[in-house]
């Protein structure tokens, strides 16, 4: 993609003034890191980090049948989400293939905000519009209506509390409420993609710089640092969270990805993909093709997406994401492997790292879970 059609967030000039290394991500020019990505990662695990996630795609669904539309279009029980709460869910094709994974916030009885990955936002928008036919509901493209700033890490509740009168103690994980932060109207959500406690703040783009600066100042004493997408990737990998295009794709169903729990067959009415997903559920239970596992290196060479997983000289799977784990101090990976080799502790499993079979231990996901 040429620089002329690369999109920039409302915080672009600020990132450059902070000396960020920028990268193209799904058509957006985003901060990859500001300094050391390992230091940024560790700051989120132990203190707090500040992220610009304005590339994420917001889609608003309103109307008397907003819930019915989303129950039809998505695989989760969206009508069962209470106002003020959020749900991790997926949108699938008729054949069960995953179009995207989503967070859906129920803002009010008849109003939802669907947050899609930047790379899939147009696909999700198109699918929702198409699937809205016959429903008394409106699907609105709100990608340009929001900037998204996340503050993540154990110090994030204290930092945010110093800037808002909102009841953060009453705000549970996967809940969201409208409020004011540093004088700026914001949807305050207790969600994230790091494996830590934290918040995501949806604000108007014209308020993004003001909010970022207020959070930076409020977090100074607590060790908050700006964080780029590089550490976001290692944080989510340690937390065992899938990334679309790596662990999730149109050629996999939620059951293939080990995330069948997001599919709610018991909900009322038909939904797109129900028939195919019913078959996929049976297949995954009886005869799973490949299973998503964690791999931890015994050596120091790092597995990368696309590398073959091997056992006894035979290819038994493929790495979907891999990186040096700052928390474990070793390379880690997620990989789809044949079911016979998927049990934690399965001996003789390795990764083909540019021609050399390096030994890896099969482990259960996640690699890291925070102490609550």
């Amino acid at each position: 993609m040429s620089s002329t059609d690369t999109r920039r967030t409302a915080l672009d000039a600020l990132h450059r003034s902070l000396g960020a290394t920028m990268t193209d991500f799904a058509g957006w020019d985003m901060p990859l890191r500001y300094g050391s990505e390992r230091d940024e990662h560790n700051a989120v695990r132990t203190r707090a980090g500040l992220f610009d996630l304005s590339h994420m795609g917001e889609i608003t669904v309103t109307g008397p049948q907003a819930a019915a539309l989303l129950d039809h279009a998505l695989v989760g029980d969206i009508g069962g989400v209470k106002p003020g709460r959020a749900r991790y869910t997926m949108i699938c094709r008729e054949d069960g293939g995953i179009l995207d994974d989503l967070i859906v916030y129920r803002l009010a009885e008849t109003e939802y905000m669907v947050v899609a990955n930047a790379s899939n936002a147009q696909v999700v928008l198109d699918a929702l519009v198409e699937r809205s036919a016959g429903f008394d509901a409106e699907v609105r493209d709100d990608r340009d209506a929001y900037a998204l700033i996340a503050v993540q890490g154990p110090e994030s509740p204290g930092i945010l509390a110093s800037l808002t009168a909102a009841d953060l103690d009453g705000l549970k994980y996967y809940a969201g409420l409208p409020g004011t932060v540093a004088g700026v109207p914001a949807l305050i959500a207790r969600t994230g993609y790091t494996g830590e406690d934290g918040f995501e703040l949806f604000v108007k783009p014209e308020h993004a710089v003001e909010l970022w600066q207020a959070l930076t100042k409020a977090g100074e004493g607590a060790g908050l640092v700006p964080c780029g997408l590089s550490c976001r990737d290692t944080l989510r990998l340690e937390a065992g969270m899938p990334l679309y295009g790596h662990e999730l794709s149109t050629s996999l169903t939620p059951f293939d990805a080990g995330l069948g729990r997001v599919v709610k067959f018991e909900k009322e009415g038909d939904f797109v993909g129900r028939e195919a997903l019913t078959e996929a559920a049976a297949r995954a239970g009886a005869n799973p093709p490949r299973v998503l596992v964690g791999l931890v290196a015994e050596g120091r060479r790092v597995p990368r997406a696309g590398y073959a997983v091997v056992a006894g000289g035979t290819v038994i799977g493929e790495v979907t994401s891999g990186a040096p784990s700052p928390t474990l101090g070793k390379p880690i990976a997620m990989a789809y492997v044949d079911a016979a080799h998927s049990a934690p502790g399965t001996p003789g499993v390795g990764v083909d790292i540019r021609g050399t079979h390096e030994p890896y231990e099969v482990v259960a996901l996640p690699f890291y879970k925070r102490q609550k």
Binding site: T21, L32, R300, R301, V302, P324
Partner: protein
């Protein structure tokens, strides 16, 4: 960032010290280290092995990627930096000093090594 004047540079972003008693020290430039991000693993050529100018002789792994290490000259490896093997972050924190990678008894130099000023122009482009 400034590239030390007393060093020479390859287009693969290695630096080469002045040759003393036939031996030169080799590392990667600060520009290259910054582009890689945090280096987490270095694989260096074995002491005693032969390296050839412009050919790969090791690898550097960072958070996001793996990159080949190229030999800027032809010769025999006389020493490797065990400190950098044990603590690869030296490549980021001191690329021109404590983050040096290996030493070579130089048999042959390519004609296209760059001066500091030439490399600064090259790496900015």
């Amino acid at each position: 960032m400034s590239n030390p004047q007393e060093l020479r540079y390859s287009k693969e972003h290695e630096w080469l010290s002045a040759v003393e008693d036939g031996v030169a020290t080799i590392g990667i430039t600060e520009h290259a280290a910054n582009a890689l991000g945090d280096v987490v693993f270095v694989q260096l050529p074995d002491v005693g092995s032969a390296v050839t100018a412009g050919e790969t002789c090791g690898e550097l792994e960072s958070t996001k990627s793996v990159s080949d290490l190229y030999a800027p000259v032809t010769g025999e490896v006389t020493e490797t930096n065990e400190d950098v093997v044990n603590d690869p972050s030296l490549v980021n924190s001191a690329p021109f000093e404590g983050g040096w990678l290996f030493k070579v008894r130089v048999a042959e130099e390519p004609a296209d090594l760059l001066s500091a000023d030439e490399y600064t122009t090259f790496s900015a482009g």
